[in-house]
């Protein structure tokens, strides 16, 4: 029975794609791709693919680190705004407003050029262990992207924390749980489930923000494509390939998050 049901399901899924107009559209798309493959210049690929892989790795690494750190920062930000006393909630709110009210590019340049121009003036910074890192560009990129993710996600987490029904927390307290245990077992997991759908969108937005680090000389995949464009005087080919790469990563991210979401109990609250 279930095998039959799966077969019917698969047939239905296939028939969505096999409508006549879709077949025609897909053929046109295929023709366009083939045209691009044959009539555009791709002879630079062998020379640059190693660099491209390095850049891709750097982009993904920056994405993963900034999302993880940003989320870790967003939890206290959201918590402070949702249920903290005013001297916690007010600074958190100001932080989120500032981050969400100014362009990421400006924040990035503020950190890189602004802080970067101040640090070298202090000898104790130049002599400290941090200096080899502070001289490079990527720490500023990671910091800016982390703060940005924390700002946007902090606002989401505020709503998520506030959205957990009071009854759940009261029940936990009635069971004699300590505050930390309530937070760890009840409040945070339920808030996380609530925030998860928006987390997908935020992660995709973060992916789309990573190319900005190329403007402060971090060699990510975007910077590699810019280099190819400069070296070969090609306008479209590197950009089209770049767009394709980003679309693929977005697709993988959305798919992965939908799998995680599917595992979470639907009835919460």
């Amino acid at each position: 029975m279930s095998a039959e049901a799966t077969a019917i399901n698969m047939a239905a899924r296939a028939s969505i794609w096999l409508k006549p107009h879709r077949i025609v559209l897909m053929l046109i798309a295929l023709a366009l791709v083939l045209c691009a493959a044959f009539f555009m210049r791709w002879d630079w690929l062998p020379q640059y693919w190693e660099m491209g892989l390095m850049g891709l790795w750097r982009s993904l690494w920056i994405l993963a680190v900034t999302c993880a750190l940003g989320f870790a920062l967003a939890v206290p930000l959201g918590l402070a705004q949702a249920g903290g006393p005013i001297w916690f909630s007010a600074p958190a709110k100001v932080f989120c407003t500032i981050i969400r009210g100014t362009p990421l590019l400006l924040q990035l340049w503020l950190l890189y050029y602004g802080l970067g121009s101040i640090f070298p003036q202090y000898p104790w910074i130049r002599e400290s262990w941090m200096w080899p890192y502070l001289r490079q560009a990527w720490p500023y990129g990671v910091l800016a992207l982390t703060l940005s993710f924390a700002g946007y996600e902090g606002e989401v987490m505020r709503g998520a924390f506030a959205g957990v029904p009071r009854g759940q927390l009261e029940a936990a307290r009635a069971f004699g749980m300590s505050r930390w245990k309530i937070f760890r077992r009840i409040w945070l997991p339920q808030a996380f489930y609530r925030a998860l759908p928006t987390l997908t969108g935020e992660t995709v937005l973060q992916l789309k923000s990573t190319p900005l680090v190329a403007t402060i000389s971090v060699i990510d995949i975007f910077a590699v494509s810019s280099k190819v464009r400069q070296d070969t005087y090609l306008t479209y080919e590197p950009l089209l390939l770049l767009a394709l790469i980003y679309m693929t990563i977005t697709g993988i991210l959305v798919f992965a998050f939908s799998r995680i979401e599917a595992r979470i109990p639907v009835k919460i609250g």
Binding site: H21, G114, S117
Partner: protein
Amino acid sequence: MTAADASNPGAKLIDAFLPASAAGIMELLSPVAPGWGGTLLVGLLHSVEIAIGATCLGLMIGTAGAFGKLYGGPVTRDLLAVYTTVVRAVPELVLILLLYYAGTDLINQVLTAIGYQRIDISGLAAGIFVLGFVQGAYSTEVIRGAILAIPQGQIEAARAYGMSPGLMLRRITLPAMLPFAIPGLANLWLIATKDTALLAVVGFFELTLATRQAAGVTKAYLLFYLAAGALYLALSLFSNLIIGRVEAWSRRGMPSVKEAR
């Protein structure tokens, strides 16, 4: 070294942040010639112009796209789905570069084909076109959702009165979807004001690029980036104020959420 200049230890910069030399800050930020405040304000003006233009273009594309997605034929729907998916999956920076080069190239090729001379497309027009195209994809989804949120009976009633599609759009669908669309569209406006900063990468003179120039010349990096941040923030907060008014206006006559509870 990072971009921080080793050659200039930035004694001036430190001065600018000592309370004693508040006059120095005012001098750097003053709107007349020796100061760079005027440059920043011109940049802000350009940013706002582009954001307004892009939002208007995006709204037009979005309205057409939403109607195409809801009432169009199968081919229109699929093409629009490709448009919204692709635009929302590719970084704005990449799209801006692609559309900037592709758009100007295309226009010039069309012009030469008709027999006109090649023209230089102004940065303003190109910026509005590029950001509007991106905004269009997002507004399509917002407006589509808002139209779907209109109680079905209202549209059926309009059809039953024999309204033409144009009249129905003008009198029923657009006004009725507005309260549902405004929060999303307001968000898009805020995104548009911040996305204008990306045009600095293709060399359009807006607030972020103006800031970069001012900071590069005076070496007072922190001061100018903070000033530009304050300008962007002021723009956002001011927009929020207006948006609140517009939202209240679009909800006039609807039962308030507070009373319903």
